[in-house]
Symmetry: C2
Subunit: 313 residues, 2 copies
């Protein structure tokens, strides 16, 4: 924590749910005081294109372009590309919207020119006039694999093509042990006023970041208070595949499991109002953590921010 | 000319104008009796995508997907990709329609998997249910360059980005001397009942094919009659950049110039009605060569077909 600089905050996030929390923080905090470190374990190459789903979801969400109804992709998207691709017998299990393609094609082109994913992401962020820093967790390739009775599935095969139907036996992050954090990520963690763990899936979306040794170590070593927003809602009901996955991995679907999962560095947990708090010595705050609209996002972000203020040493 | 096989015809073509003649032939001839050998000197890599404008124009024209008004691209095309690309500061001098992108992305992906351009083109042709063979002139890279006072310009820089404004001093086809004709191209030329040279730009769109030594030799050596359709219309007025280019290259804008250009192998020329025929010993037939609709295309194709019948030895 540097006292000579204006306060800076860091949030660690995955895709859709996490992006809503980041959006809430982004609206509440002063300009250029937030760094989002984003999961890239879902990144993959499809039809020769470099696709970074969680980074794009964040870009779309913060710039007001996210499709609220679908929960992914762009508002007002058109689908002529997919229709023509189908007519050519191309793979149609992964939907690529016409506008969305611009990010993948531009990213692929810039990467081929030797730019890093960090540089490309920074460039996109600037082009869309967003005043925060979005960092991929690493410029090195880290790939999330899900071991199932049908064999190992890449994240997108499991999540999109198979709709999370196969039973997950274990989850691996190929390349994580040797991956270096993106430039600026460790400094952001070490020098932030406070750090937030977004309510993304802890096992699929946050663990890839924690599997990078230097990121995990920085979270343990930082002086900044760390507050997570629990993805558990209404006791056992959980959005997305988190509940199914926790069951398959023999983890009780509870805030206690979330607190234990982040136990090595967690100082506070925001839980859904009325839910059972974790059974351990940890600062807990409760609010309605369902983020339907901008107000919800800012309420949850405010709750987390207030917690970190009370945790500041 | 093989008498044991059903008659087969070959057409040599560039882009928009040529595709209309091919379409006319395609409608008149029995299924699977036509081979189109297509210019690929305009092919280029843009944003990491392998783009083959003349092949795609032919695919769109024959499958009824061509945009009649624009003269290029697809009917009912949408432009969300370009709008988003622009918002990201991407290059916008070359328009890529949303549906059009599917061909470029699928082609690039198949080429990256080790397929040849011939194989990809055959695959697209089959997927769209077209019963002819479309061959790129070569699976090897041949690139058209235009030397101008501003320096050498690649075809697309000259044609699209600079709208043919720079003065052309000379035209070169990089890679043509060592390029091998696509598999089947030489057999098509040697064994056809007749060969047609579409009314594409002789210097920009047909010359790339003639610059491949084995294609030129096959045209000279084949027993089949060869009939060209002149791109000259109404004496001096010519569509596209042909007239400007002929002026810059010190070539009179006349049917005589066209006949001389193809003189090494030409047996007949279809000219626009009322235009001055070439001043040489050559079978000439006249019709309205402006191809506005399907009837026009078939009339011009019929005129060329009838000429070859009279030339059959």
């Amino acid at each position: 924590m540097s006292l000579s600089k204006p306060p800076h905050y860091t949030v660690i996030t995955g895709g859709v749910g996490g992006a809503k929390l980041v959006d809430g923080l982004y609206r509440l905090l002063p300009k250029n005081s937030l760094t989002a470190i984003v999961n890239t374990g879902d990144d993959f190459n499809h039809l020769g294109l470099a696709i970074s789903p969680d980074i794009d979801t964040l870009l779309y969400t913060l710039s007001g372009k996210a499709n609220q109804q679908l929960g992914w992709g762009r508002e007002g998207e058109s689908w002529n590309f997919m229709a023509t691709l189908r007519s050519l017998g191309g793979p149609d299990w992964f939907n690529l919207g016409d506008g969305d393609l611009a990010l993948h094609i531009m990213r692929s082109s810039l990467l081929a020119q030797g730019k890093s994913l960090s540089e490309v992401t920074q460039y996109f962020t600037n082009q869309w006039g967003l005043s925060l820093r979005i960092l991929p967790m690493s410029d090195d390739k880290v790939a999330t694999w899900i071991d199932t009775p049908e064999g190992a599935l890449s994240f997108q095969s499991y999540f999109v093509e198979r709709q999370c139907r196969p039973v997950a036996q274990s989850i691996r992050f190929e390349g994580s042990k040797s991956a270096k954090p993106a430039k600026g990520a460790l400094e952001a963690i070490m020098e932030s006023e406070a750090i937030f763990i977004a309510p993304s899936n802890p096992y699929l979306s946050v663990d890839p970041l924690l599997a990078i040794p230097e990121i995990k170590a920085a979270l343990i070593n930082t002086q900044a208070p760390i507050v997570a927003i629990s993805p558990i809602v209404d006791g056992k009901a959980v959005k997305g595949p988190t509940a199914k996955l926790m069951g398959e991995l023999d983890i009780p679907v509870s805030n206690d499991s979330i607190a234990r999962h982040y136990g090595a560095f967690l100082n506070g947990l925001v839980i859904h109002q009325g839910d059972v708090p974790p059974n351990r010595n940890l600062l807990v705050s409760a609010t309605d953590t369902m983020m339907h609209d901008a107000q919800d996002r800012q309420r949850v972000a405010r709750c987390a921010l207030d917690m970190t203020a009370s945790l500041l040493k």
